[in-house]
């Protein structure tokens, strides 16, 4: 028995490390969880792309849940994501609002001209100052906000059909039930 002790200790350590690796595999460990989950959206007021006179803030978005999709014309992954965002917006399951992050209006409009504009409207954050309050650190990122203005879900990286089916739709169902 005493002779086996080192072997037992080694196997126990191996099992522990293997479990640790398994628990994190397939997960994007570089994605930072949002501290905003379960909290109201940060106070913001941003101009609307293509209509800079009009500004949108938290209060304007109350009443119905929405998906805030952070993108930029400089962001290659956003192109891959765009068809899925377009499909989600067309499905009418949720309002989809764009957040143009660190971009110029000209580049953004050219990009939308090329790939289509599925957004109800787009808020433009040219210098990325308001994005700091949202905890945004890149694009694409997406937030799901409920009718009361509480952030219920955040996704870092591209949204695809699997994310829509397995994460967004169940959240929308829950919100529907809660109302």
């Amino acid at each position: 028995m005493r002779r086996l002790l080192p072997l037992i200790a080694f196997v126990a350590l191996a099992v522990l490390l293997f479990a640790g690796v398994r628990m994190n595999s397939g997960k994007d460990t570089s994605a930072i969880p949002s501290p905003l989950l379960g909290k109201p959206t940060p106070a913001f007021s941003l101009p609307v792309l293509g209509d800079p006179q009009r500004r949108v803030g938290n209060a304007d978005l109350r009443g119905r849940p929405y998906l805030l999709n952070v993108w930029g014309s400089w962001c290659p992954t956003c192109r891959d994501e765009h068809p899925h965002i377009t499909a989600l917006a067309k499905s009418g399951k949720v309002r989809v609002i764009g957040y143009d992050y660190k971009d110029t209006p000209e580049d953004a409009q050219a990009w939308l001209g090329q790939f289509g504009n599925p957004y109800e409207f787009i808020v433009a954050d040219e210098d990325g100052r308001a994005a700091l309050d949202w905890g945004i650190y890149g694009a694409p990122e997406s937030f799901l906000v409920d009718a009361n203005g509480v952030v219920v879900w955040k996704h870092v990286g591209a949204i695809d059909d699997t994310v829509i089916r397995e994460q967004i739709e169940p959240k929308l169902m829950q919100m529907g039930a809660a109302r």
Binding site: I32, W134, Y137
Partner: protein
């Protein structure tokens, strides 16, 4: 000669460009800024500190840190500001709280357990020792 001149001009230009990114009022401010940003982790490239990273978000956050410093915020308040937005990921030194107790005190715990084991062995050996050394063939190791 021409090339040397060009090199000097380019060097001067790049130094100017770097200086334009952030202007410090004095050396104390710069030292405090450097100390603070090396303790903060860049959210984009997580193996770099905020001071070292070239990611656009790191640039924005450095500007934000300097702005908060000039507003008279303390280092702790600035850290708290970033934690509220980007979670404790941004801290290289996590705060001491129930979820990080194991992280902070785990090593001390391991040392204590080890010390306990060694003390046990020493005591047992000491009990055996006064009589006579055990015969060689009874030793396993």
């Amino acid at each position: 000669m021409r090339r040397a001149l060009l090199a000097i001009v380019l060097l001067a230009l790049s130094a100017l460009a770097a200086a334009q990114v952030l202007q410090f009022r004095d050396e104390a401010e710069e030292a405090r800024f450097r100390a603070l940003t090396t303790e903060l982790r860049c959210v984009m490239c997580q193996n770099q500190s905020l001071a070292d990273s070239n990611a656009p978000i790191a640039k924005d956050l450095r500007a934000e840190v300097l702005r908060l410093m000039r507003e008279g915020k303390s280092d702790d308040e600035i850290k708290q500001y970033l934690v509220e937005r980007y979670t404790e990921f941004v801290l290289y030194k996590p705060q001491v709280e129930p979820t990080t107790w194991l992280l902070w005190f785990g090593p001390a715990l391991v040392v204590l357990v080890g010390a306990g084991v060694i003390a046990g062995i020493v005591r047992r050996k000491a009990k055996q020792a006064p009589d006579a050394p055990p015969p060689l063939d009874s030793q396993e190791w």
